[in-house]
């Protein structure tokens, strides 16, 4: 063995308080390869890479770069040994130009203009070498995410990075943009760069990596040659047991339409159109799943239906039209009174108040309803607490203590608190966004069962998820969103991932068929 690994980590451990994010991780990445690190959310992938980039310091363990043992106390040190990182959330100064962002931290002297001139020349060279064209004088906030990511890559290359770490790079990209990114990565590999790709998407690992490591609950469970493994094998390693790809459910028995959406249009605060002529209908006893890459209008659709975004168009619930025009940030309670319940996409940001106790959260959004009032003025806190305890038992929330603050529950239990609140209201229509994001596998099954059970009670459900598997296994009907439009509707039995993928990428219906 004469070739030394570009990166070698030995016995890396890192704890955040009582949580062990990384346990005794060992990994070797050979130069000029693309190495994938795959694992579920919270498996410890990002922590590991943040240690490599000097963002966190490991509690124990050793780092070798090109065979030399080094310590990486800060990002400066990481940059110094040729490591560059592209974070999931870009680290760009939005009101600076591209050039200023690239130069920031890698200036050649105390005065700015020589640095900028040097960077301008070098950027032109890099652009031609790697086919990464950018306009150095545009302002970051004026350019798209795909371009911003390209600038992050250029930032690393400008700093002479030989090892490039990309953390969930395709989360915000359309499939087309993702393909373009992968072409860039392959090109970089040809030029001898080493690339570490962190993702939770099996397809990306299979498509582009040479070797792959699997992480689970802070531990490295396997490192394999990509061409010697299969998606099923990797999935099993990720979750630790055979995954149930199918949810047990009987065929739907749809009845009358509950939700009817006609010509729904929405513009955000900046005047960008987020929903374009959306037409949808969900019937009682049916789950309509909406597939799509994140950021194509799904969140906005939920916000409009949930009553906290203005929109134009017609939305009927059980035949009666709901008012979309007058609400400035707050018809949520009126919507709930109309029988719409809503499990939001981000439970920590929206669905729960993390500093409120479980019982306070269990009436969140319904706190003004008669059943929760002791009299005209005051809430009936004792009754709410009793009621919450029952809900927590029925939904298997652990620990079932209504006086615990929400932040002290695990992700899955937090989601169950939200679900219990919304489902036990017995709504006519349930809006669900990303029901199992960041939820452990045991809770996923439970949550899926609850959603199916609600459907079987004859309720309408609108499900939004970026996980195609979840959409395919839960939905009775699938609609695909792209760029604020509904690209088409399919029955899960009559479609496949490939067709849905094309629709998600905005390829028109006739081409797909």
């Amino acid at each position: 063995m004469t070739i030394k690994p570009a990166i070698e980590l030995r016995g890396i451990s890192k704890s955040f308080g009582p949580v062990e994010a990384n346990k005794d991780i060992t990994i070797r990445v050979m130069p000029g390869t693309i190495h994938g690190i795959i694992g579920e959310n919270g498996a410890g992938k990002s922590t590991l890479m943040s240690i490599l980039y000097g963002f966190y310091r490991a509690d124990s363990g050793e780092i070798f770069v090109d065979g030399k043992k080094i310590s990486i106390p800060d990002s400066q040190a990481a940059i110094g040994v040729g490591i560059g990182m592209v974070f999931q959330h870009f680290k760009l100064v939005e009101n600076f130009t591209v050039l200023e962002n690239i130069v920031l931290g890698a200036e050649s002297g105390a005065l700015l203009s020589p640095s900028l001139n040097k960077a301008r020349a070098e950027l032109a060279a890099l652009a031609s070498e790697y086919e990464l064209n950018v306009d150095p004088d545009s302002i970051i906030e004026d350019i798209g995410v795909g371009m911003q990511q390209r600038i992050e890559i250029l930032k690393a290359l400008y700093r002479k990075a030989n090892i490039l770490i990309l953390d969930e790079p395709t989360g915000v990209l359309t499939p087309a943009e993702a393909d373009q990114l992968f072409r860039i990565l392959k090109r970089l590999r040809e030029e001898g760069k080493t690339i570490i790709l962190i993702t939770h998407k099996l397809r990306e690992i299979m498509d582009i990596t040479d070797t792959v490591s699997v992480m689970r609950q802070g531990e490295m469970t396997a490192t394999l040659e990509t061409n010697e493994t299969s998606p099923e094998n990797l999935a099993e390693l990720m979750v630790g047991r055979k995954v149930l790809l199918r949810v047990d459910k009987t065929p739907a028995k749809p009845k009358n339409p509950v939700l009817e959406i006609e010509d729904l249009n929405m513009f955000d605060d900046f005047g960008v159109q987020r929903l374009k002529n959306v037409n949808l209908s969900v019937r009682a006893g049916e789950i309509l799943g909406i597939a799509g890459v994140a950021g194509n209008g799904q969140s906005e659709l939920l916000e409009v239906l949930g009553g906290y975004q203005k929109a134009d168009g017609t939305v009927k619930v059980k035949g009666s039209e709901i008012d979309l025009t007058t609400s400035v940030n707050g018809d949520g309670q009126a919507r709930r009174a109309q029988g719409i319940a809503h499990v939001p996409e981000d439970r920590q940001r929206e669905g729960l108040i993390m500093d409120f106790m479980a019982w306070e959260n269990s009436v969140f959004g319904y706190h003004r309803e008669k059943s929760n009032q002791a009299n005209r003025f005051f809430m009936d806190n004792n009754a709410i607490r009793r009621e919450t305890e029952g809900k927590m038992h029925r939904f298997d929330v652990r620990p079932p203590n209504p006086k615990l603050t929400a932040k002290n529950f695990s992700g899955g239990n937090q989601q169950k608190i939200v679900l219990a609140r919304e489902i036990e209201r017995d709504p006519d229509l349930l809006l669900v966004g990303q029901p199992t994001r960041g939820v452990d596998i045991g809770a996923i099954e439970f949550i899926h069962q609850q959603i199916v059970a609600l459907r079987d009670r004859g309720k309408a459900i609108l499900l939004i998820s970026v996980e195609l598997d979840e959409i395919l296994s839960l939905s009775d009907k699938i609609a695909v969103m792209f760029d604020g439009k509904i690209m088409g509707e399919r029955l899960p039995s009559e479609t496949n991932e490939k067709e849905l993928g094309l629709l998600m990428a905005g390829v028109a219906e006739q081409v797909a068929q």
Binding site: F55, M85, F87, K91, L112
Partner: protein, 380 residues
Amino acid sequence: MIDFLTLLQVLDSSLRLATPLLLVCLAGLFSERAGIFDIGLEGKLLAAAFVSAAFAAITGSVWMGLLAGIFASILLSLLHGLASITLRGDQIISGVAINFLAAGLTVVAAQDLFGQGGRTPPLKSGGRFEPLSFPWASSSKEMSEAGPLMQLYSELLSGHSLLVYVALLTVPLSWFVLYKTRFGLRLRAVGENPAAVDTAGISVVGLRYAAVVIGGILCGIAGAYIATSLQANFTKDMSAGRGFIALAALIFAKWRPWYALAACLLFGFFFAVDNRFQNILLPAWSLSCILGVISIALLSYVWRKDYLDKVVLGGLALGVAVIAFMVVNSVWTTGITSQVKIPVVFIQSLPYVLTVVVLAGFVGRAIPPKAGGQPYVKER
């Protein structure tokens, strides 16, 4: 109409009064551009004023006073840094605490050192910054006979304390540092997106401390100026809200150095006018016209707005209209061309009112640095 010399005298006084505002405003500019809100400018100004006056009084040297004042101000800056950068505390609360600390400690210390009811003794020459007389400048006696250019030269340009010129030079210097140097680029970046700076391998903490220390130095100079140039001793609460006016000027200036100069000169002018003229008279018709236009502008703005806008801004318009009516009413017998007295407090309040108008975004929206006020916590 007032004559040219009187105008020059008012402008001269504007410049004197604008100087501490300008220094403190630029102090706030560095701090806030780096993402650290600084409500404690007032406290630093006051502390520096006391310490410089005390040291100048004891040592007899104004330079010792200046250095000591700067030192005291930097100490408070570091306290603010400790609270808001290192310990990630609330920057507003820290600033409030620093203001009280300075207000209390200066009087306690002054009383203990000098026993004159919280004042320092008057500074003798040597303990003060004397006015610098430019060559060939006319003395104040010959001023009225000199030609207009000579008056301009002698009255407005010459005859200020050294620190006035220092403050004026700080403006281009700040501009240069912020926009033309590596440090400035990083400073502006850390106020917009500290994570970008951190991942680029630069210390967020170091940059922010540097920014608050620069702020401390500038506040220190400003404090020394008010105690050893503008006045010749320290008196209790002598900063008199200048720190807050500077904050207002900073917003008015949209966090830019040259705009800051303009804003401070404007605010200084208000104070000079306020000092110089006891009664400001305006023809009743022009005043009621101005008020009427404001009222109608507000009403037409809210015409298609929602309920709350109508209540608040409509109420405001009504209030302005009532005042306009009262103005007209007060001159009913003497005729609309007679003059009415503008209360001096109105001129005093003008900087704050203007700042609120700018903050409200009705005229030229002020967008603060994006990361301002939030402590930086690393996250993935």
